[in-house]
C-alpha cells in the first residue's frame, strides 16, 4: 500500500517578523479577548444550576393520588420492563372492601443499578412512577441508594413543591386520557340490576 509521506519541517518565513511569531500570538489573544465579551457557556456549578427540560430522566418518584396515597397498584409492569432489574415490588392486599385492593407493600429502586432509560415510566399504566430532574445524588453507602417506597413518595412531595405547575399539567394530561370512553367505568349496584328485571 502506497503511503503518502509528508515532510514536516520548521516554518521559514520571509522576514524576521514572521520568525518572532508576534502576529500569530496576537491573533490568538484576539480570539481570547473576543470570547471575553461573548455569552458565557460555563455554569458556575454548584452556585449556578442548569434548568433541565421537563422530560429529563433523573431520580424516580412515586406519585400520589388525590387522597395522598401512592398511585401504584403493584402491577409490576415497571419491574418487568426494567432492563437493569433494579425495581423490586411486593404486592399487598389492601382489603377486600377497598377499591384499591392491590397496592405495594415494598417498592424499592436501586438507583445505582438503574440505567435511567425511562422504560418504567413508559410501562406504568397508572402514571404512578415518573422521573424528576434530580441527578445530583450523593450518599455514603450503596445501601443508601436503594430508595424505598416512603423515600420515593418523598421525592414526589419535594418535586411538586419545586414545580407546582408541572404537577398540574401531568395530572391534566392523564385525566384527559382516563376520561376517554375506553376507560369510562361506572358502578352499577345490585339494587339497580334487580329493578331492571
Amino acid at each position: 500500500m502506497a503511503v503518502n509521506v509528508k515532510n514536516v519541517s520548521m516554518a521559514r518565513g520571509k522576514s524576521w517578523v514572521d520568525l518572532t511569531y508576534i502576529i500569530p500570538v496576537m491573533k490568538g489573544l484576539a480570539i481570547t479577548l473576543r470570547h471575553l465579551f461573548k455569552r458565557k457557556l460555563v455554569l458556575q456549578y454548584p452556585e449556578e444550576k442548569k434548568v433541565l427540560p421537563p422530560n429529563y430522566r433523573g431520580l424516580h418518584m412515586l406519585t400520589r393520588d388525590e387522597k395522598g396515597r401512592e398511585k401504584c397498584v403493584a402491577c409490576e409492569m415497571c419491574s418487568t420492563a426494567c432492563p437493569a432489574d433494579c425495581i423490586r415490588i411486593v404486592a399487598g392486599d389492601g382489603g377486600w372492601e377497598d377499591s384499591r385492593e392491590k397496592h405495594p407493600i415494598v417498592f424499592e429502586i436501586d438507583e445505582l443499578r438503574c440505567i435511567y432509560c425511562g422504560m418504567c415510566v413508559e410501562a406504568c399504566p397508572e402514571d404512578a412512577i415518573d422521573m424528576t430532574d434530580m441527578h445530583n445524588l450523593a450518599d455514603y453507602t450503596r445501601q443508601d441508594f436503594i430508595y424505598d417506597k416512603e423515600r420515593l413518595l418523598g421525592v414526589y412531595d419535594e418535586y411538586i413543591k419545586r414545580h407546582p405547575d408541572r404537577a398540574k399539567r401531568r395530572d391534566g394530561q392523564f385525566k384527559a386520557m382516563k376520561n376517554s370512553s375506553y376507560f369510562t367505568v361506572n358502578d352499577v349496584h345490585h339494587s339497580d340490576q334487580h329493578s331492571s328485571h
Binding site: C75, V90, A91, W96, E101, I146, Y182, V188
Partner: protein, 537 residues
C-alpha cells in the same frame, strides 16, 4: 371414516370426533373459551367458530361432527366436509366475539392475577380489535366472596360456564350456578351455600380469565416470573401429576422470596388424575408451613437436642451404629421417601446385614367424587403417603411390622418423620426427617432431610405407576436429600458408593429390583446428567 379438508390439510375424522379435535390433531389451533376436554360441550363462547362449506352460517368447531356423505355428494370428489379456520369470515367473527366479550370487561389486567396466562388477553392480542368502539357506560358488577378459598371478580367473567359445569360434572357438588340472564348473567352461589368442597381449587385453573381467583395465591406474584417444574403430589397414594411454580430468578435483594413454591397446579395425566387435583394436595405446602421445619442437624446432649454441624452429627451417628453389632441395628424405610432413597436404604441394610422394615403411612379420610357424567370419578385415597407400594416392593416386604422388627434392636435409623408410633424408644434413635413431631422429639440424632420439592426421584402410586418428581427449589437450611445422607452414612460404614445423581440410583435400581426391570428409565430420566444434584461426600 369421513375425510375432511381443514384449511389445506386432509384429515380423517372419527365418527363422533369433533372438528376441533381433528384440527388439533394436525396442529391447527382454534381459539376457544368454553371447551374443555374433561367437561360437557356447550359451545356457548362462540370463539371456535369455523367456516364449513355448505353450512348456512359459521359453526362452532367444538361441537360439530362430520357425517359420511354418499359418494355422489362428496365435495371435490372425496371430502365429506371442507372447513376453513382462518379465512376472512372466521376472522371477522372472532373479532366480533372478542369485542362483545370486552364490552363489560374492566380491563384491570395490571391488578389481575391471571394476566400473563389469560386467554382473553392472548386472544384479544391475536384475534381482537386494537381499540374499543364502546362509548356507553360499562357495567361493573360487584365482586363476590364465594367461599373459604375462592373470590369471584364478577366483572371479569366471560360466561364460559366451565366452573359451573365442573361443579356439576366432576365434583358433583353443584354449588355454582348462572344467575340472571343475558346482559345481567352472573356466576353465583346460593345463599348460605358457599363453594366449599375438596376440589374447588380446580375452578380457578379452569377459569380462562381472572374471574375466579384463589385467595391463597392472590397478589403473590406475576405469572410471567414463574418457572414451572413437573412434580408429583405426595399427599396420598393416588400420585396426581402437578406443576410447581417457583420464581424465575433472584431479583434485587429478594432473599425472602426465593426458595418458595408459589402454587401447585394439576398437570394432565389421563391415566392418573385427568386434569384435576384435590385441595389437600394443592394447599399442602401451606399446611407444611404451619409445622416446624428441621433446618440443621441435632444431637441429643443431656436431655435436650442441640444444634450441631453435619460433620459432628455424622460422626455421632456412625459412632452409635458402630458401637453395637450390625444385628442390633435396624434401618426403617419410609412410604414418604422416593423409590431411589428406599432402594439405597435397602441396599445398605442388605450389605451390613441389619434389620429392615418400612414404617406405616398415615391413614385418613377417603372421598370419591361420583357423578353420572364423569366416567373417571376422582378419588382422594385414604393412604396419605405417595410411595407405600414402592417402598414395600423395593424393600421386599409384605407389610410394615415395626414392633416385631424393632423388638431386639438397639440402634434404629428412621427415614421420614410422620408421627410414627413406636412401642418403646430404642436405645438410640436416629431420625432423618423434615418436620418436628413426636418421633423427632425422642431422637438422639436428628438429620434434616430435603422435601420432595427440593430433590428429585420417583414415586410408585397405589396402582404401580412410577412417576418422577423434579427438584424445584434449593433445600432449606442445611437439609440434604435423603439419598445424599444415606450415601454419606454408607461411606462412613465402609461402603464406597458413587452416584452422580438420582438417575444413577434409578438405573441401578432397575437392574436389581425385579419389579422395576421393565421401567423405561429414559422416559423418567431423559437427561441423566442434567439432574443438577451433585453428590457431596
Amino acid at each position: 371414516m369421513p375425510l375432511v379438508k381443514i384449511d389445506s390439510q386432509e384429515v380423517e375424522i372419527g365418527k363422533n370426533e369433533t372438528v376441533f379435535n381433528a384440527a388439533k390433531r394436525v396442529g391447527i389451533d382454534i381459539p376457544f373459551y368454553c371447551y374443555h376436554p374433561g367437561l360437557k360441550i356447550v359451545a356457548s363462547c362462540r370463539m371456535c367458530l369455523v367456516d364449513m362449506v355448505g353450512a348456512p352460517k359459521l359453526v362452532p368447531a367444538c361441537s360439530t361432527t362430520v357425517p359420511e356423505l354418499p359418494e355422489a355428494k362428496k365435495i371435490e370428489g372425496k371430502f365429506d366436509a371442507v372447513i376453513f379456520t382462518d379465512n376472512e369470515k372466521v376472522k371477522t367473527a372472532r373479532r366480533a366475539v372478542l369485542e362483545f366479550l370486552l364490552l363489560n370487561h374492566p380491563i384491570d389486567c395490571p391488578i389481575c392475577d391471571k394476566a400473563g396466562e389469560c386467554k382473553l388477553q392472548d386472544y384479544s392480542f391475536e384475534h381482537g380489535n386494537d381499540a374499543s368502539r364502546f362509548t356507553e357506560i360499562k357495567r361493573i358488577p360487584e365482586k363476590k366472596d364465594l367461599g373459604p378459598s375462592i373470590f369471584l371478580y364478577t366483572s371479569r367473567c366471560i360466561m364460559c360456564s366451565r366452573c359451573v359445569r365442573f361443579t356439576e360434572e366432576i365434583s358433583g357438588t353443584e354449588e355454582l350456578k348462572v344467575t340472571y340472564r343475558g346482559w345481567h348473567a352472573e356466576i353465583d352461589v346460593a345463599p348460605e351455600k358457599p363453594l366449599n368442597n375438596k376440589m374447588m381449587g380446580n375452578v380457578v385453573d379452569l377459569c380462562p380469565v381472572g374471574c375466579l381467583i384463589d385467595k391463597h395465591e392472590r397478589f403473590e406474584g406475576r405469572v410471567w416470573n414463574f418457572v414451572h417444574t413437573d412434580s408429583v403430589c405426595p399427599g396420598c397414594s393416588k400420585g396426581c401429576n402437578t406443576t410447581l411454580d417457583t420464581m424465575k430468578h433472584q431479583k434485587l435483594n429478594l432473599e425472602e422470596l426465593v426458595d418458595q413454591v408459589y402454587r401447585i397446579r394439576p398437570r394432565e395425566n389421563m391415566s392418573v388424575n385427568q386434569w384435576w387435583i384435590c385441595d389437600d394436595g394443592r394447599y399442602h405446602l401451606e399446611a407444611d408451613k404451619k409445622k416446624t421445619r428441621i433446618m440443621v442437624p441435632h444431637v441429643k446432649q443431656g436431655s435436650k437436642l442441640a444444634e450441631v454441624s453435619w460433620v459432628e452429627a455424622m460422626s455421632v451417628t456412625l459412632q452409635k451404629i458402630k458401637a453395637v453389632s450390625t444385628k442390633e441395628v435396624a434401618l426403617i424405610g419410609s412410604p414418604y421417601a422416593s423409590n431411589e432413597e428406599n432402594y439405597l436404604l435397602g441396599k445398605l441394610a442388605r450389605l451390613l446385614g441389619t434389620g429392615l422394615d418400612v414404617s406405616k403411612p398415615i391413614y385418613g379420610d377417603t372421598q370419591t367424587f361420583k357423578t353420572d357424567k364423569n366416567p373417571h370419578p376422582f378419588t382422594i385415597e385414604s393412604e396419605k403417603a405417595p410411595n407405600y407400594r414402592g417402598a414395600k416392593t423395593i424393600l421386599n416386604l409384605n407389610d410394615s411390622q415395626l414392633d416385631k422388627t424393632l423388638a431386639d434392636k438397639k440402634v434404629v435409623v428412621l427415614l421420614g418423620s410422620h408421627n410414627i408410633e413406636l412401642k418403646s424408644k430404642p436405645e438410640t434413635l436416629i431420625v432423618i426427617g423434615s418436620f418436628e413431631d413426636t418421633v423427632t422429639a425422642q431422637a438422639d440424632v436428628l438429620l434434616p432431610a430435603a422435601l420432595f420439592t427440593e430433590t428429585s426421584g420417583t414415586y410408585t402410586n397405589k396402582d404401580g405407576v412410577v412417576q418422577k418428581f423434579n427438584r424445584a427449589i434449593n433445600a432449606l437450611g442445611e437439609s440434604k436429600a435423603i439419598w445424599q445422607i444415606l450415601v454419606e452414612l454408607a461411606a462412613g460404614l465402609g461402603q464406597s458408593w458413587y452416584y452422580e445423581n438420582v438417575g444413577d440410583i434409578a438405573k441401578e435400581m432397575t437392574e436389581n429390583v425385579s419389579a422395576y426391570k421393565t421401567l423405561e428409565l429414559d422416559k423418567l430420566y431423559p437427561q441423566f446428567s442434567t439432574l443438577n444434584e451433585q453428590m457431596v461426600v
